[in-house]
Amino acid sequence: MKIDNIEMNILKSFLEVIIPSNDDMPSAKDIDLNLDNILKENQKYIKPTKQIVDFIQREPAARVMGGVLSLTEIQKIDILKMTEHLFPDEFAIFIELIYLGYYSNPEVHKKINWTLDQDKKDFNLTPFDDSILDNISKRDPFWRKA
């Protein structure tokens, strides 16, 4: 089972509603979420995603005029809210897919000042200093004898 091109295009048309842009951050549509690879490597997302896309396609608003790709932002939000209400478990997995794609993106990491460089100087914490135990160390032992 896999997500076909039509389904992927529908999914992508909702990305900017799920994670919109603001002054600091790109929308989920503006960056590469690497969805093809994530879906290929992790089968658990495929069935729920197909179910969400199928529901979207069946929505009356999506079946008139230009179809799904012509939906307004407000219509997309309404459809997503209804999908979330009707299929909460599947929707949660679908959102997990989008969030993982978004927050694994190097551009997003840069925007939020996140790095995988473990040797970064700022990460080197001060070793434990036992002077912080001065107060608690004054307490008499209170473990229960048995």
Binding site: E41, L125, W143
Partner: protein, 528 residues
């Protein structure tokens, strides 16, 4: 038809925290020992690559039902408030833990005598003390002596991990409230230790340096045991424990990945398959002699499942310029002010606070420690910014009292699988009251530390790390499955050394105690 394999002195099933420790201790004797493990060697840790959080939610998920690797088996948990978690490989769940390693208190072994509830253990803290010490030395414990909430003990081989700016805030807040706190004991190396590189920091929780700093039993116990002559067989799924016509244990039947089956004859069989895998195996070892499963004359195999229900309180700091994600995720400090029974409260026994801290981007967005994910839509970025690197977590780990209706049963799988464990578990009224008390106290502590907002998860469904109680230890064969030596009351030379044998759960992470029991059992076997 199973192929008969030559006799060995001892077969151990399971190579996780307890099976590995037991195997190492026994391997020093020169006995012929075979260790059967359903998984394989593992070192494919996520970290240092962009996809590491994706892997945490998939092939490195805590939950075997989500992970669904070849080495995993399905667990039916629809009838449980809490999902059981485990990792199946050489080293077991010590590949996938924070390595927070407090000990039980002496009072935990005497709850019937002290508080009139559940049962006393047939062993004491003092029986285990030297094995705790040995295990701390082997696994490598970072920590510091002098904790007034626990008995005096020898110095740890490594200093505590750094508290970090948030840990210091919480510690000082506890001081102001007059509450106990102490730096966590941990099997994460804070300095270089026996070939492990010390790690006193990590910018993003999961990375390969961290995994290598945390003790796992494949390195600590199994490799030295192999040098001593232990034979490890990976990808070996044990189907049943066998007894002869007189009811004496005489080996196990297992299969390999090609579905070839073998009968490994042995003088002693030791089970170390965790609180779900062990009862599953015993229940699947039923026969005409033992129609209700092996070692089950008490009817208690699979009963009294205990988890340590967790409640989670996140506290959010107002400052935007401080990074509260730096340092180890969970080995920071422990609060045991409310550990013991207090007659003034409306519940029995008590709890610990374990401090956790802010984590990585995707995990934050997906609701780490929070009852809700960061919402999708227009408020997404503002809400993410409010949470990301801005919170401390108080995890309330509760004592879970044993109840017969909380249990593991087995149901038929398809023809290619062993029976599937099915879990029934309801959080008790006592636990709910206990957790509610803990939630209130956690909010008080976080507020004192400077947090301006808190969120709460009353019972963490995804928190079934600790699997205990399903083959209870006791002196009375009618009311327990194994004796004080962890030997079956019913079947001579059949031993159990995992968390199944816990008589009660206490309110701390169980791994050092599980390992101390395994080392003690091995010692008793060696001494005859």
């Amino acid at each position: 038809m199973a192929k008969n394999l030559p006799f060995v002195d001892i077969v151990i099933v399971g190579s996780g925290a307890s099976g590995a420790a037991c195997a190492w201790k026994l391997s020093t004797s020169g006995a012929s020992i075979v260790l059967l493990e359903q998984g394989d060697w593992f070192n494919n840790y996520p970290g240092d690559t962009q996809d590491w959080e994706i892997r945490l939610k998939n092939d490195f998920h805590f939950n075997p039902n989500v992970r669904n690797l070849k080495s995993d088996y399905e667990i039916l948990d629809e009838n449980s408030d809490i999902s059981p978690l485990m990792f199946n490989a050489v080293g077991g769940s010590t590949h996938h833990w924070t390595a927070h390693t407090p000990r039980l208190h002496p009072s935990d072994f005497r709850v019937k005598t002290l508080d009139g509830v559940a049962d006393d253990w047939p062993i004491s803290y003092w029986d285990l003390e030297k094995y705790y010490d040995l295990n701390d030395e082997m696994m490598g414990c970072s920590g510091i002596k002098g904790d007034p909430a626990n008995p005096p003990r020898s110095a740890r081989p490594m200093p505590p991990l750094p508290l970090g700016i948030d840990g210091e805030r919480i510690a000082k807040a506890a001081d102001r409230l007059g509450w106990h706190w102490w730096p966590s004991d941990s099997y994460q190396a804070s300095i270089d230790y026996k070939g492990r590189e010390g790690l006193n920091n990590n910018g993003s929780y999961h990375n390969k340096k961290l995994w290598e700093a945390i003790a796992s039993t494949d390195h600590v116990y199994i490799k030295p045991a192999i040098k001593n002559g232990l034979e490890l067989r990976t990808n070996s799924i044990v189907e049943s424990v066998q007894v002869d016509s007189k009811g004496n244990v005489n080996g196990v039947v297992y299969r390999d990945t090609k579905n070839n089956t073998y009968f490994q004859k042995a003088g002693k069989v030791i089970l170390a398959c965790n609180g779900i895998g062990t009862p599953r195996l015993l229940l699947n070892s039923s026969s005409k002699q033992n129609p209700n499963g092996l070692s089950n004359s008490s009817g208690l195999v699979g009963k009294n499942l205990m988890f340590h229900p967790y409640a989670i309180v996140n506290g959010y700091y107002p400052e935007e310029d401080i990074d509260y994600s730096l340092g180890s995720l969970g080995n920071i400090l422990i609060v045991q002010e409310f550990y013991e029974t207090d007659p003034k409260r409306d519940f029995l026994r008590g709890y610990s606070f374990q401090m956790n801290r802010s984590t990585s981007p995707a995990m934050t967005a997906l609701g780490s420690g929070s009852p809700t994910i960061v919402p999708w839509g227009n408020s997404h970025h503002n809400e993410f910014k409010k949470r990301f690197r801005r919170f401390s977590t108080m995890a309330i780990i509760s004592e879970d009292l044993p109840e017969l209706h909380n249990r593991v049963e087995i149901v038929s799988g398809n023809s290619n699988t062993l029976p599937i464990p099915k879990i029934y578990y309801k959080t008790s009224d006592n636990t709910k009251k206990l957790l509610n008390h803990g939630i209130g106290k956690a909010k008080e502590l976080l507020k004192e530390a400077g947090c301006v907002e808190t969120t709460t998860i009353p019972v963490l469904r995804s928190g079934g790390w600790h699997l205990m109680g399903t083959t209870k230890m006791g002196d009375d064969p009618k009311n327990s499955v194994v004796n004080a030596n962890c030997e079956s009351h019913d079947v001579k030379n059949l031993y159990i050394v995992d968390g199944s044998v816990f008589t009660t759960s206490a309110a701390v992470n169980p791994t050092p105690t599980i390992q101390a029991i395994a080392l003690m059992t091995a010692d008793k076997i060696l001494k005859g």
